[in-house]
Amino acid sequence: MAYKIIASQCTGCSACEFECPSSAIKEKGGIFFIDPNKCTECEGVFDSPQCASVCPVDNTCVPA
């Protein structure tokens, strides 16, 4: 159970990184990605996955 970022659509805005409650989102050389071992899909913390709710590009933070 984890989310992933479709890198080709990502603008690199970093909004998701800031909102993630599990520190699962990292950036390397301008590319953002989600660590599947850390992502909890925000279960038990928030009603909706934060990355997908804040991301400005539809269908970019999606279930892996």
Partner: protein
Amino acid sequence: MASQVISLSAIGRVTSVDEMKARMPAGGCGASSAKGQTSCGSSQGQGDMPPEVWEKVKDHPCYSEEAHHYFARMHVAVAPACNIQCNYCNRKYDCANESRPGVVSEKLTPEQAARKVVAVASEVPQLSVLGIAGPGDALANPQKTFRTFELVAEALPHIKLCLSTNGLALPDHVDTIARYNVDHVTVTLNAVDPDVGAEIYPWIFYNHRRWKGRDAAEILLERQMKGLEMLTAAGILVKVNSVMIPGINDEHLKLVNAEVKKRGAFLHNVMPLISDPAHGTHFGLTGQRGPNPAELKSLQDALDGGAKLMKHCRQCRADAVGLLGEDRGAEFTLDKIPEMPVFDPAKREAYVALVEQEREDRRKASEQAQAEVADLAGESLLVAVATKGGGRINQHFGHAREFQVYEVDARGARFVGHRRADNYCQGGYGEEDKLEEVIAALEGVAAVMVAKIGDCPKARLEEAGIEAVEDYAFDWIETSAMAWYAGKMADLNHVDARTA
């Protein structure tokens, strides 16, 4: 780019106009530079601003029409994230509230940004303002924004700090804004009615969830108003920006104007929606058009006397550097600045003293010219000016990517706004369709005053009913505009006398 750069000597006390003319690059076009630049600015001198407000804005290029001839601002792009979506924005690019659409800035860390500001300050003594305006929302990235302010305030205490925001997170940060001594905040606010807002903002991210439609607009507008009130209460200057979207909020902006004025905004700046399908924005794709210059001016005129209008914001890009319509940002990218730049305050002090004198001279010359036109009767005319700064007509027509427009009549010459036309010289001199673009941008203007102009564009302008005037090259703008007007009226009367 060289011809776009203002050197200290070019802007300073040049006694001989001939000397300046000699420095003008000979005809032709050598200008090429990064696209999409801009800068900002506002109303005339002190006017009826309260003294404490004038003291804060008089050297601020975005707020004082006069200062924007002499002082420079820069933006650093440290804030990429945003917490809302606007229908005129495509987040692949910079925040459209603060930048022209379709522009991408060099993203920096706070440390890199501080280094860049010091490097610019040591090269450009005109630098007086640092703004954080994106490329997303300054307050959706609070750590990065405030860390940058902290570093810059340490290194360069004379630099004024300002930031821009959509207002959603504003109420949470007013205390911090006050603590960092930020004296100007810009809030982009396009509606006060959630039904209007819902047509502009499809969603917001607030309290850990995404809100849509009217609910989203309701929260956002409430937060904007609250933030505005809190800033005013804390004694921080607030400017409100609105994007004019014909058919959606154009009439509504009159109400917005009244509401923001009530809450203490010292300026209300209306910017045109810039809409192009190529930018991939919602409005671009649905064919929502932007206002034409006449529509914009008529709204601005209707709002005058409300919150003071800032007529010359040029929608800077998030990493803009420079004066007026110039952007020297490309000279100061990270790879071009030293590891440890050093700032020498003496250069800046000399410049500030020079400007005080120049401003005084300009004011006197303008008063004198005004006395001369005072008893002329005639309709007011619009005059466009090509200028690189210093309050003078000192730019080649082909190098001007925007023109300052003055309204001239017996009451004098008043700055009324600017017209943009992307540098038609860029693709080679005299390129036909680019020139047509300039002519379209100059609609309604009777004359364009330039330092120099080629014969072809001059003839084409004349065909379009716009007189190209080179006689006042390197002279002060207001004085020259009034002198030209006086000549024009004298000619007219002469003709009238003959035909009568």
